[in-house]
C-alpha cells in the first residue's frame, strides 16, 4: 500500500485503432488505458504489482465523450465524465435510473474526474488486492478474502476464484435498463448486453476478471435503449457513511406500471456479487403484482433467497439483510 506512482510512459492514442495496436504491441501487464485515471492511478498508487503497467495509453482525447440521443435510445461514449452523465438532461429524461446511480458514485470530485466506462470496468476494492497480496488478480492463485476479512467487499452469492464484488454503481443500473456495450478490438467490433459483458469470473487475456473486455480491447460506447412507456425506476445504495463509500449493497429496479400491475420487472443488485447480480426471483415475484409495502418486502426477500454468504473467514451474512433493504427502498423510490 503506497501513495506515489511508479514511472510510466504516457502515450496519446491517435485513434481507437491506434490504442488497440499499442495495447497489443505492449502486451497484457505492460500497458493499460487511461481515461479519467481514477481507477488505474489508484491501482498504481496502491502498488498492486500486476496492475502497474509501464505504459498508459491515453484515450481521453479520442472523442469518446458524448451523450447523443436517437430514436431508439441514448448513446453514451465511454470516456464521458460521470458528472456529465449525472447532469445530462437527456439522461435524466430518458434514463433517470442511470443518473441516480451514477450520481451516487463516491464524491463530486471523483465523478468529475472519472468516466462512465471507467466506472463500469473498475477494478475491485478488496483490501487484500489493494495491499498487493498475491491473489488471483495479482499473479497468485488464492482468494484471501474468501478465508479472511470479507465483511465489506466480498460476495454474498458465492463465486469462484476471486470472490470480490463488483462495486460500481453504473453497471447495475445499466443492466436493469437493458443497456448494451460496444467493444472494439483487434478482430473488430462487438455489441453485447450487460449480462454478456459480465459473465462472471474467468480468465481473459491471462487476467482473472469478471468482465469480458480483453487486454487489447476498448469499450467505446454504451447504448441505453428507450424504456417502454410507463416504466418507472428506482435506485438505492446502502453504504456505511452518507458519501464516499462503495455500496455495501445496492439495487437498481425498473418496472413497467402501465397496466396497474407490474410487468417487465428488472431487479439488479450491486456490491453483493462478483458481477451485477440479476435477482430473477425478485423479478418473477414482482411481475403481475400491484405495488405495496408488502410487495416490496416480498421482493426483497425473493432477491436474496438464494444468497450464500461467506462463512469462512470473518463472514458477511449481514449484507444479505442490506441487499434486501436496498431492494425494498429502490422499489419505494419508483418514479
Amino acid at each position: 500500500m503506497r501513495t506515489e506512482v511508479p514511472k510510466f510512459g504516457l502515450v496519446q492514442a491517435q485513434s481507437v485503432q491506434d490504442a488497440i495496436n499499442l495495447l497489443s504491441k505492449y502486451g497484457a501487464g505492460n500497458a493499460r488505458i487511461i481515461s479519467g485515471g481514477t481507477d488505474i492511478i489508484s491501482r498504481m498508487k496502491n502498488g498492486i504489482a500486476a496492475h502497474t503497467p509501464n505504459y498508459l495509453i491515453d484515450i481521453s482525447g479520442l472523442g469518446l465523450n458524448y451523450i447523443k440521443q436517437d430514436s431508439g435510445g441514448v448513446h453514451i461514449g465511454a470516456t464521458t465524465a460521470n458528472s456529465d452523465v449525472v447532469n445530462s438532461s437527456v439522461v435524466n429524461t430518458a434514463a433517470p435510473l442511470l443518473a441516480s446511480a451514477v450520481g451516487s458514485i463516491a464524491t463530486l470530485q471523483l465523478r468529475n474526474n472519472s468516466t462512465i466506462g471507467g466506472d463500469v470496468l473498475q477494478e475491485v476494492w478488496c483490501p487484500y488486492l489493494r495491499n498487493n497480496y498475491d491473489c488471483w488478480r495479482n499473479g497468485g492463485n488464492v482468494c484471501y478474502g474468501a478465508i479472511g476479512d470479507n465483511r465489506y467487499y466480498h460476495s454474498i452469492f458465492g463465486g469462484r476464484l476471486c470472490y470480490a464484488v463488483h462495486a460500481g454503481d453504473a453497471a447495475p443500473a445499466m443492466s436493469a435498463l437493458g443497456a448494451q456495450a460496444t467493444i472494439q478490438g483487434p478482430l473488430g467490433s462487438r455489441t453485447i448486453s450487460m449480462d454478456q459483458l459480465f459473465p462472471g469470473i474467468s480468465v481473459v487475456g491471462g487476467r482473472v476478471q469478471e468482465h469480458t473486455v480483453d487486454y487489447n480491447e476498448i469499450l467505446t460506447e454504451f447504448y441505453i435503449p428507450n424504456q417502454p412507456k410507463g416504466t418507472k425506476s428506482g435506485w438505492y445504495k446502502v453504504r456505511d457513511r452518507g458519501t464516499w463509500d462503495f455500496a455495501l449493497a445496492s439495487a437498481a429496479v425498473t418496472v413497467n406500471m402501465s397496466s396497474g400491475a407490474a410487468s417487465n420487472a428488472s431487479v439488479v443488485l450491486g456490491g453483493v456479487d462478483v458481477v451485477p447480480h440479476r435477482a430473477s426471483a425478485a423479478e418473477s415475484y414482482l411481475n403481475g403484482k400491484s405495488m405495496s409495502e408488502d410487495v416490496y418486502s416480498g421482493a426483497g426477500a425473493a432477491a436474496v433467497q438464494d444468497a450464500t454468504p461467506l462463512t469462512y473467514g470473518i463472514g458477511n451474512a449481514y449484507r444479505v439483510e442490506l441487499a434486501k433493504g436496498a431492494v425494498i427502498n429502490a422499489l419505494r423510490a419508483l418514479a
Binding site: T3, W125, Y128, E321
Partner: protein, 790 residues
Amino acid sequence: MSTPSKFNIIGNPNINRRDITRKVTGAAVYAWDINPEHIGVDGTVGSGSIAYLGVVTCPYPRAKILKIDTSAAEAAGFVTLTGDQMPPYSYLSSRNSLALPRTSDITMYPGQPVVAVAALTTDQVEDAARLVTVEYEPLPYILEAEEALAPGALQLYNGGNSPAGGYTNENGIAPSTINIKFGDADAAMAKADVVVGPLVYETQHEQHYEFEPYAAVAQWTNGSLRVWSSNQWAHNEASSLAAFFGVPVNNVTVSTALGGNEGGGVLGNGLGDKIYQELEVVTAAMAQKTGTVVKGALMRNNQAIWASARFPMKSYMTIGAMKDGTMTALKATVYTNCGAIGGSNGDDAISDFYNMYNIPNVNIVGNSANTNRYHSAGAMRDVGESQGHFFIESLVDELAQKLNMDPAALRRQNLRGNDASGNPPVDPNVNQPYSSSAQPAAFDKAATAFGWSQKWQGWGKSSQVNGPLRRGVGIANLNGAKGGIIGFGAGQLQVSPDGSVQAFTGLTDHGAGGNTTFALEAAEALGLTSFDNVTMVMSDTSLTTDTIGTFGSRSTRACGLAFIAAARDLGRQWFPIVAPKLAPNTDPKNLVFGNNMIFDKTNPSNGISFTAAAALLTSPMKGSGFFPDPNNVTERTTGTKFAEVEVNTETGAVRVVHFTSSIGIGRVIFAKGAESQVRGGLFMGIGETLYQELYLDPTTGRHLNPNFHDFRIATIMEAPDQVDALWIEQNDPVAPWGAVGIGEPVLMAVAPAIANALSNALGGYRFRTLPISREDIVAGIQWARANGTL
C-alpha cells in the same frame, strides 16, 4: 451578551480565530509544506540541497530481520539508512526499542519502519523504497492483551509481556499495574438488591488520522541541528534529539513549522500523535549521512500506523445497587493492549469508573500487556477516557435497564458533584477535593435543553417511530481526568515602547485554537480589550521556554496561568516607571492593568493608557511567568451529554439527530472556538462509535486499512440536525479566570451517549463493543424483531 462583561476580552463571543485568514488563503506554512525557499535553501529541482525521506516497512506483526539489501537502491543513486548504521542508543519506552532495527533484530508490529531511504524528489521516494529488499523470517505473534498475559503465553520480551516488567506468577497472572480498592466490593455486591454483570465491553484500535502527516526538516550546520517539524512539543523534541546525537541542547533548535513570530502555531492537528520523535531522529540521522537538508514527510499509509494509538481495551464489569437506585458496589478487571513498546496505561480510563458516581465500594484491577498489534499505546485524544466512559456509562445504562429506572434519574441520583452548599466533591481514590465540579448543574441544564423527559418513553420503547425509521435517546455523563494543568505552565510577555506586545509560549496550536486563546489570555492579563497589537511567538526553542506540550487539554490553563504570572512580573518592573507619571505618591504596588490602561486600583481615575505607559520604556521589557500544578487538588472536567439517534431498520443506517453537550468549562475564553470544539468532538465521536477501526488480516496479522478509504471518519453527511453546546462557568480556582480545559472532554462520553440511544431505538439491545458496525446494527435489528420490540 446582555450584561457587560467584567473581563477585558475573554469570553467575547465575537472574537474570530486570529490565524484563520492565513489558513484559508493558503499563506500559513505547515511543516509538511516546507520547501527550500521557506528555509533559505537552494530550490533548484534535483539540486541535492534538499532530499526527501521515506521508509521501508515490515508487513509482519513480528519477524526476524535476516538480511537488509540496499545495494539496488544505492546503485540507482538513492541514499539508504539502516539501524546498523545508526548509533546504538535506546529510545523512549519501557522496552528500549530502536528508531530503526538492525539485522538480526526482531520487528515488533506490522508497519514497523526498517529502512529509511532518501531521494531528490517526492515522486522518487517510493521508487527508492521499492529497490530495497529485506528478508524476514515471520515469527509467531500475539495481538490481544489477555492472551499476552495468559499462562504459557509467548514471551515477547525477557521478563514477560507486562510493561510493569513483572513475571507472570504461578497462576499465570501478571502483577497488576493498577489496583483501585476502597470499601469492600465483594461484601457490598453480595448484599445488593440488583447485580448487573459480569459483562464484557471492548473498544477498538484506532489512530489519529490527523490531516497533516508527520513531517520533519532537518539541517545540520557545524554540529548544530535545526529541525522544523509538525510537533506538539518542540522543547521535548529538542532535548531528546540533543541526547540522541550527543550534542549540547543549546546546539539544537526545534520549531513547530517555521516557528518565529506567528509561524510556530501552525500544525495540521496532532491529536497526540506528534509528541514523539521517531521521524525526527531518523530524518536527522539521514541528514548527517547525506550532508544535505533532509525532509521526512510521511505518506498516509505510514502515518496511519506510526507513533502512538488509541489502545484497545477490554473490561469485565459488575455493578451492584439497591432497588431504590443507590449504587453500592463496582468491580472491574481491565485489560489494556499497549502495543509493542507502550508502557502501562489505563489509569485515566479507570479513574472514570470510580469518579463518575458516589459508589462507596470499588475494586478495580487494571492489567497492561505488550502485544504485536501496533507500535505503542500513547497519546490519542482522550487517552483511555473514550474507552473508560464507554465502559462505565454502558454498564450504568444496563443497570438502569435492569432496575427499570429512567437512566437519567438513576444517574442524577448517584452523580458525584457539588454538595448543597456548592463545595466540590472529593476524589475517593486519593481523598482530596476536586478543584471544581460543574455537577449537578451541567446535568440539569443539559436535560432541560435536550428535552429528555419529553423524549424518553421508557425501557423497550423507541422514542419515536416513523415507518422503518426508529429513534432512540441516550445519556452519558462526563467526568474526565483531562483538562487539568499537568506539570507546569511557563510563558513570557514582552511590551515594546510602541505599545506592541509579544507573547511567548512553548505551546503550539494544533487546531484547538491556542493561537487565539493564548492571545486572548495575554491581552486579558495585560488589561487589553483587543489583541490586535499582540504577536504570538510559539513553539520555537530558540525563542520560547518549555511549558510542557500541547496535549492533555492543558494548554488553556497552563498558558493562562503563566501569562497571569508573567503580567505580574512585567508589572513589577514596569509600574515603578509608570507611578511617577501619575498622581503624586502613587504606590506602584497599587497599579493594575485594565481597560487598556494602567491605573491605581484604589483610585481608578488615576492612570494612563497602556500605550502611553509603553512609550515610557526605552527598550522592550519582558515579564516571565511560571505556574506549577498544585498537587493537593484533583483537577477533572465534568458534564453531561444527551443523544438522539435514528436507525433505519431496513438498512441499518444510523443518524445522530440531536446532540446536547453540557460541560463545565470554568470560564469561556475563546467562545467561538469552544463551540467549534464541541461540534468537532461530536464528529470524531460519531466516527469512533460507528465506523473507525484499524483492522488486521486475521491470517497474517497485516494491516488492511491504513488509509482514509477504509478507516472511515465522519463525513459532512453525518452532520446532526441540531447540536447544543452548553457551558457551566463554575470558575475553577486553580485556573486562569476560572477556565479549565475541554479539548478532550468534548470527545469523552459521546460514544456511550450514542450507544445508549441506539439501544433505546432497538428495544434495549446492547452494544458492548466499539465500533458499532453495520453488522452489529443488523444483529440488533434482528434481535429486536425476534423479541417483538420492532
